[in-house]
Subunit: 387 residues, 2 copies
């Protein structure tokens, strides 16, 4: 069905109604950041940073954005995140695919001249970014879709994912490929990172053994770092990332190689490696992740929301998953409800606004930002809302 | 949404339209068998065998059906299958949960007084079965939902599943629990069964290491035996059953125990045990299985159809899966489309009629048999169908 052109009532797979409000039409929107006063920054994968001002998309992209390489259909301008003290310092962070002048001499694929970088800039609501600076440029060379997300940990450091869907590099501590990094807000290395001073380890590394991490969320109450990543065929995962841990790719996995051969060791559990919190088979091609903590959807508090991108032929693809953990916290007993199934669109990002509402990006050539709102119903026998 | 009360157009998740025709309303229909002249036999789990004659449900259940024990909500009268030479011999087979007079002395749970049996009878279209006889009574004692399906192999032998969702018995060759059996059409043991004469093995055993096998299909062209089974949490499977093989339960599995502990060895692959052809996580609680070979849905030829029962909170539950294998036959690259998602009902059985149409049982207190038909569309610019 077409994307809604005005507010429309949908139901999730449990029959619960909610309202979908289209906010803006965009081209391959990847991520969004909600500014304190209600404006919304949105990245478009092809390299544009857009802004929705007072509910309307500014037709002019924001100026000063670093040039993102967009040769691969999933590479380009990716995440946009505000500094936790944005109101004071107006710092905005962007992750993007960056051309590098020359390949590394030792590169197995010298034709690959792209890496992933983190830029910081000041943005106070005007027409352009100011003080734009790459605060961190990774050492990877990526010829495919190497996703990169950032989020601020509660201690003010930056958690950054460096996806690497191919090869064994996620186990190699001498490269950023397939890792979760931890950086200071100026891109430098925190002295208390788990591998600082260990020979052969990049000091930025916080956790290893990551495939293509497409979602990242720091829980505002617990501080836990939640991550989603794509498996190959099968084995999409949710992980809770802890310092110094190894999440196993490509040694252990619940998925299989595209050749249908087992991954790595063929095992799914090995001493010293972490199993996922949750995995899927077949893979819906997960997107962004969020744990809802607002008060506008009281029944959804503590639910995990995960976007799903994959081809519509994959079970669970192209919708928004709502994962409801049971009282025991046993993830395998979680309910897995879905929203927006009717749209059959790639749901890339999901964010909670300061208003307690949910915002998603629909990643398509004719994509959109949608807001999800509760449908308030008056109690029986009353004519006005009294809550 | 309510079940359709008349023919209604649905679309599958790929947008392909098809017509759903309600054939009859039934109470917990489990399995159905299509008689040569278009009548349909349907088992109701609570112990009734019903017949749809000339498109209308006979209000009187068929007489002479062996008494099925229905103490557990998923136990009772289960499968109904015609003999391959039904037109000549009018043999009908039923699987059911049968009370046994006394527990086995060695039973760990002496209060459990039910087993699974296979009855054979003659039915030529009248009001009752004739010559009803238990041709095989298994040695299991089942206090839960031990599913049992039967299908005729191309050599005329009976393949019979004996589900056992609890305990280690599926690895014990001295019991029928958690096995695929092979029987002659009179219930005796074929001399060429794989374990005949091997000490400690029940001679009926064809394959071991099965959990709760809820679906069974013999491919009419290849003779392959396709089976679906329930994992615990995660790990629902499709297997292709071969003589003498061990399918691993409860030693290897992609699922987890309800306690969230790993199953058995914690491995998913071990020498001498078979991995599934396909598995799911989370588990949709699969139902019956069919590979479509008719000509009424040309695009669906070779597709695997699998019903899904589970609670609506589980991804993929309560609908009919259509699994489209790619040219390479790589199951992990299969498309997984779904049908009847809108109904949110337990789809228990799926069968192909002699008319090339699909028939499903909707397992609910107010359940149904539905027929799926193609929607013929006239070519553009023509007013009549010319194909």
């Amino acid at each position: 069905m077409p994307l809604p052109s005005g507010p429309e009532i949908f139901k999730d797979s449990s029959g619960r109604p909610f309202r979908v409000v289209p906010i803006a039409g965009l081209r391959h929107p990847w991520s969004l950041a909600l500014l304190p006063h209600g404006d919304i920054l949105v990245t478009e994968l092809e390299g544009r940073l857009r802004i929705i001002r007072n509910g309307a998309l500014d037709p002019e992209p924001i100026g000063g954005v670093p040039k993102a390489t967009t040769q691969a259909w999933r590479a380009g301008l990716m995440d946009v995140v505000l500094h936790p003290r944005y109101a004071d310092n107006h710092f905005v962070y962007l992750t993007y695919t960056k051309a590098v002048p020359a390949p590394r001499a030792e590169s197995a694929r010298p034709e690959v001249r792209n890496t992933v970088a983190l830029a910081r800039a000041r943005f106070a609501g005007g027409a352009a970014l100011a003080d734009v600076q790459d605060v961190f440029v990774s050492d990877i060379r990526c010829g495919a879709a190497c996703a990169s997300r950032v989020a601020f940990a509660r201690d003010g450091t930056i958690i950054m994912t460096i996806g690497m869907p191919r090869g064994d590099a996620p186990q190699d501590p001498a490269t950023h490929a397939g890792k979760i990094l931890r950086l200071n807000d100026d891109g430098t290395v925190p002295a208390d990172n788990p591998f600082v001073g260990r020979p052969g380890y990049r000091p930025e590394i916080y956790a290893l053994g990551i495939r293509n991490a497409v979602g990242l969320f720091v829980h505002p109450e617990t501080g836990e770092i939640w991550e989603t990543e794509h498996g190959p065929m099968g084995g999409d995962e949710i992980n809770i990332i802890e310092a110094g841990r190894n999440y196993g790719w490509p040694v252990i996995s619940y998925g299989r190689e595209y050749s249908n051969q087992p991954v790595g060791s063929g095992d799914r559990r090995l001493e010293g490696m972490e199993e996922p919190f949750l995995f899927w088979n077949p893979s819906p091609a997960v997107g962004g992740i969020l744990i809802y903590t607002g008060d506008r959807f009281p029944d959804w508090q503590g639910n995990i929301f995960v976007g799903a991108l994959g081809a519509g032929s994959y079970l669970g693809a192209r919708q928004l998953h709502r994962i409801e953990l049971t009282g025991s916290g046993n993830p395998q007993r979680a309910g897995n409800w879905t929203l927006l199934h009717e749209l059959q669109r790639r749901i890339r990002d999901v964010k909670q606004g300061p208003d307690g509402l949910l915002y998603v990006t629909v990643d398509a050539a004719e994509g959109a930002v949608l807001r999800l709102e509760p449908v308030e119903t008056a109690p029986p026998g009353r004519t006005s809302r009294e809550r």
